[in-house]
Amino acid sequence: MDLQKIPHYNEIPALNGEFTGAAQKHKETFRERMYEKNKVVPSVEEAVRLTGLKNGMTVSFHHHFRNGDYIVNMVMDVLANMGFKNLTLAASSLTDIHAPLIEHIKNGVITHIETSGLRGKLAEEISRGLMDFPVIFRSHGGRAAAIESGALHIDVAFLGAPSCDPYGNANGYNRDEENVSCCGSLGYAKLDALHADKCVIITDHLVPFPNAPFGIPESNVDYIVKVDSVGDPKGIMSGATRFTKNPKELLIAKTAADIIEASGYFYDGFSMQMGSGGASLATARFLREKMLKNGIKARFALGGITGQIVEMHEEGLVQKILDVQSFDLIAANSLKNNRFHQQIDASYYASYLNRGAAVDQLDFVVLSALEVDTDFNVNVLTGSDGVIRGAIGGHPDTAAGASFSIVVAPLTRGRIPSIVRRVNTIVTPGDTVDVLVTDQGVAVNPRRPEIAEKLRAAGMPIFTIEQLRERGERIVGMPDPIEYDEQIVGVVMFRDNTVIDLIKKVKHV
């Protein structure tokens, strides 16, 4: 080949002596460099300035600190003080601790919210019509898909992390020292970091490079701010996943485990997910006994991971764990220490748009419900009084993905029936729900006659969902209907980001 035929061959500097086009070469040690030339900025305010955030833009947050989260309130206070208006707050979820946002909404700092759920005072105020523009509720998988497709564009992500190095490798725990704000997986934050135009990590533990293995890689991070504390450990690990001693929940859990055993989806090498809630988490306990008795192992457990799943992993009953969110300290520590406890992001977990989500590999999932209607539609978002008090989470994603979805609920809660003619808010459509387990009977979706057949063959009594509804109403009586105004306060998206239901303003709260 004649090299001279390459255009401008003679002008290539490297061929005519020393190449001088490269950037200035480092001379200091890596350690010196780490503390002088890095991405750490002195304050949240400075980080905000550097990101170029403007009025009307979208800021995002994760909810791995649950009810102990300091980040959302901290950042929104700064943004309010800096005079920002008309912002969209896109959090993976919001909870009781975020009540101070009410003021920012009233003052026009926040004019739109996207979240998986709302609780406490903020939820009540929004149900009363606090916001002109309705809140968009998405499932974890739906949010991931919206971010990927651009339907939800994040301008700046502010992501709290229990540890981070000066270049932005961030983790939900700390390998270098003990820390209290440990949250385990950063599954929801990972995706925000990847897709946001600018990404700010806020940490209370700045550790030496490299903070590996990392949850969020430095390649996704622009700025880092060190603060005293990112969250209250009591609220981060709220103890919501302690093993229940409530006899009714145990009864439901035992029945759910019996159903799984009889369903045909309990075999050596099966896969599972347990949703949050006493009865669904306790189901793992009863399954464990059955696994030991029958010599059966699970190939993997997915989801929000708890200590119970970790225990089963450590005794060899669950081979691999895919963890998008660690619910307790045992789970967080396992993520840190166990080789086959894998951190996954929200898209890998449940997006319908990517090239393969883990929920699609589930044999079964056990999910809680606030309300179920006679078409098997499930509500986990609004209470029986119509007020928002929950979160969609991965409910519709896992119900749709799993081959066999089990919804557990007490027949009545106090005087409120769980089985109703029509749920207040459809979160998970009935055609993805296969079995309903209550403390007073089991109903199988007529779409799954083969499941009903298997349960009957195992000697399990089965009712129609109508019978269960009647039974509940006979005990507590017929509730008066809730009165709504016309104003729409929430739009509920299915996992494919089409609208599945609307939440209206309640008349009296």
Partner: protein, 288 residues
């Protein structure tokens, strides 16, 4: 038999969902002196309006000497539970006195006389020694039960591995069998000690007791497990029942299996065993 504190509306409401064979609403020890009237109203109103399916419903009243017992009967008998449990039974006379009150109320209320059954709880040394005369004191009696907490105090000892209750259990069981009624064992109060509970349940099953009182729904599944017949026994029982049905189809009053005639007690035991097995495997949910 599931004990339910009579002044707790949540537990009174849900008592039937846990798979126990019977429910005992308590107006006695679990209710403080100041709340006796409130508990009486609560249990009465629950029995009047709630549905408990096929569960056997029993109400433990206060003892008659306290003055509260008769007030309890005035309300409860009219709400028609299956049986009244009389605590602290020491002599046949206690049963006779209680029966007199029940019968009076049945007549006043227009309830069929004799329809309210009785369970006698024996909770003292004297009661244990009088077990047979107590068990035969009334046709209303369907069971005698041991109440161990008061009994061990009376004996000047405490609950331990069961040695201390051996005599009382044998006396009560023998009295019940001689009288042709059921014998029910006492409660095991350490709810968190499942191992200890299973050991005690295994012991009393070996002795021959028909059942055991439980204070927490969590104790029901292990109890059913202990009382669950073995697979071999169950197969035999099913064969017996089948033979009986075939005999009935043929119009014959006599059934036999493998050349041996099946007499009535054998048939009854087989039936009971099958019911036990059915009750044990899943929590039974009935139409209510």
């Amino acid at each position: 038999m599931l004990f339910v504190p009579g002044n707790n509306p949540g537990m009174v409401r849900d008592a039937h969902i846990y798979g126990s064979d019977s429910i005992m609403f308590d107006l006695e020890d679990s209710v403080s002196v100041n709340e006796k009237d409130a508990a009486r109203f609560l249990v009465y109103n629950a029995l009047m309006s709630l549905r408990y399916g096929k569960k056997e419903l029993i109400v433990r009243i206060n003892d008659l000497s306290s003055g509260l017992g008769v007030m309890d009967l005035e309300a409860i008998v009219r709400a028609k539970p299956n049986a009244i449990r009389l605590p602290k039974t020491e002599t046949a006379q206690d049963i006779i006195d209680c029966e007199r009150e029940i019968e009076r109320i049945e007549r006043e209320a227009g309830i069929e006389v004799g329809s309210t059954k009785m369970v006698a709880a024996i909770e003292s040394a004297l009661g244990v020694l009088n077990a047979y005369s107590i068990a035969t004191a009334s046709k209303r009696l369907v069971a005698v039960a041991l109440g161990a907490e008061d009994y061990v105090t009376d004996l000047k000892t405490t609950r331990s591995d069961g040695t201390e209750l051996f005599f009382a259990r044998c006396m009560i069981l023998n009295a019940a069998r001689a009288a042709g009624i059921d014998a029910i064992d006492t409660v095991y109060s350490d709810v968190n000690n499942e191992e200890g509970f299973i050991a005690e349940a295994t012991l009393i099953k070996k002795l021959g007791f028909d059942g055991k009182s439980v204070i927490n729904p969590r104790q029901i599944p292990p109890l059913h497990e202990v009382f669950m017949p073995s697979e071999k026994d169950l197969e035999k029982a099913q064969a017996i029942v089948q033979a009986l049905e075939e005999a009935k189809k043929r119009g014959s009053g006599v059934a036999s299996l493998n050349g041996k005639m099946i007499d009535r007690p054998v048939a009854l035991r087989a039936q009971h065993m099958i019911e036990l097995a059915a009750a044990g495997s899943f929590v039974p949910v009935e139409e209510v």
